[in-house]
């Protein structure tokens, strides 16, 4: 068997060998030693070829792709974290700005209210003083007018009393005693 295969030089002879292997009694292909050398040589060639392809091209390429993806994911995660930190800082800045603006607004409001109050107070005081002065003047006028009126009343009363006494008695009374009597009745 080994010799016939050893002498085989071409497809025709190969086919003959195959027919032999198929129907020759006891020809179990895996144990046919004549084919061992061929198989070992092709195994060596193709396995070395595969090893070279795998170690030089395939694994670096696929491993590189996996690593690139991992790096990309990690980079994206750190980028996202950075952006999150930034947005949190911005939020904090906004809140503090808002708080300070609120206090400032409150201060301004207080200040302007105080100012307005003070102004209103001053105006009211001035107005009140003015009114008080007018009132005092008016009271003074009233008092003088009443005094004048009262003195006129006394004169009229004295005259009227003198006339009444004259009418009743026919005697013209003494002016001094009439005045004294009027004064006494005014007092009474």
């Amino acid at each position: 068997m080994a010799e016939s295969h050893g002498g085989a030089k071409g497809p025709a002879a190969g086919a003959h060998t195959e027919a032999d292997g198929g129907h020759h009694g006891g020809g179990f292909p895996p144990f046919e030693s004549s084919t061992f050398a061929s198989q070992l040589v092709s195994l060596a060639i193709f396995f070395v070829l595969l090893y070279v392809i795998v170690s030089k091209l395939a694994l670096p390429k696929v491993g590189g792709a996996i690593e690139a993806r991992q790096n990309k994911i990690e980079g994206d995660l750190t980028e996202a974290q950075k952006l999150k930190d930034q947005s949190e800082a911005a939020l904090k800045a906004y809140e503090s700005e808002l708080a300070s603006a609120r206090t400032r607004a409150q201060a301004i409001g207080n200040e302007s209210r105080d100012k307005a109050n003070a102004q209103a107070d001053a105006e009211r005081k001035a107005l009140e003083e003015q009114l008080a002065a007018k009132l005092a003047e008016a009271e003074k006028t009233i008092a003088s007018t009443r005094a004048a009126a009262m003195s006129n009343v006394r004169g009229i009363a004295a005259d009227a009393a003198g006339q009444i006494v004259q009418q009743l008695t026919g005697v013209v009374p003494d002016a001094a005693s009439v005045n004294a009597a009027v004064d006494a009745s005014l007092k009474g």
Partner: protein, 249 residues
């Protein structure tokens, strides 16, 4: 109709490459399927893109990569990654050629003992040479297990040495026998269907349903076995290499 379950394992020379001594070195159908396996693996690993979001082909390539890498890391540690190309080549070569071989009318490379023995011896000598080159005499500590009483040590050492040198035998025969037996069983059961039909007519065709169902079930099993045996071969390689990397464990 004669069932010939052995015919599928025939080596058919396609053309002659040369001679070594009185041996003719031919490019055989086995060589052709080795070429096919190498071409499929190269196509899978190189033609798939390197996109950020992988497509189908790229996913398969990356899953293969991660699968073999995690197998090595879990069995031989991170130092075992030195042998990543070797183990990846072994796993993919066996897995792809087994899966191609399960297609009807194709040839299964690993159904020949000489091929599996060649691969097993490659692993054996890699372990031996790397182990001695890295650890020197300490490598032989793998033959002296810890905590064994002195009086049984010679016996244990004898068994350890024997098992070490029998590793390539079991390593190669496991793969070879699994593929061979599976393919023979498939062929026999599938042959029953045709044989019953051609010899018994209508009754035979009805009776052929049972072996047909068995053939379908066996076929599914063989797909599993094709992958599993490649995985077993690769993981045993990792375990053997672990001895070379960390002797005395």
């Amino acid at each position: 109709m004669k069932i010939d379950p052995i015919h599928q394992f025939n080596i058919e020379p396609l053309f002659t490459i040369g001679h070594i001594g009185n041996q003719t070195i031919a490019f055989t159908n086995s060589s052709l399927y080795m070429l096919v396996a190498v071409a499929i693996i190269s196509l899978l690993m190189l033609a798939s893109g390197t996109q950020l979001v992988p497509g189908r082909l790229q996913s398969v390539a990356e899953i293969s990569y991660e699968f073999v890498a995690s197998t090595i890391r879990s069995t031989a540690g991170s130092e075992g990654m030195k042998f990543f190309p070797l183990i990846f080549s072994l796993f993919m070569f066996i897995c792809v050629s087994n899966l191609v071989g399960i297609i009807p009318y194709t040839f299964t490379i690993s159904s020949h003992l000489i091929v599996t023995a060649g691969l097993a011896l490659l692993v054996f000598f890699t372990v031996l040479i790397y182990g001695i080159a890295k650890n020197g005499v300490k490598f032989f500590k793998i033959f002296v297990p810890h905590g064994v009483p002195g009086y049984v040590l010679p016996l244990v050492m004898f068994i350890e040495v024997l098992s070490f040198f029998l590793r390539p035998v079991s390593h190669s025969i496991r793969l070879f026998a699994n593929m061979l037996a599976g393919h023979i069983a498939l062929k026999v059961f599938a042959g029953f269907v045709a044989m019953l039909g051609f010899s018994l007519g209508a009754i035979g065709w009805v009776g052929g349903v049972l072996p047909l169902a068995l053939t379908v079930a066996l076929y599914a099993l063989e797909i599993l076995v094709a992958f599993l045996q490649a995985y077993v071969f690769a993981i045993l390689t990792c375990i053997y290499l672990n001895d070379a990397i960390h002797p005395g464990h």
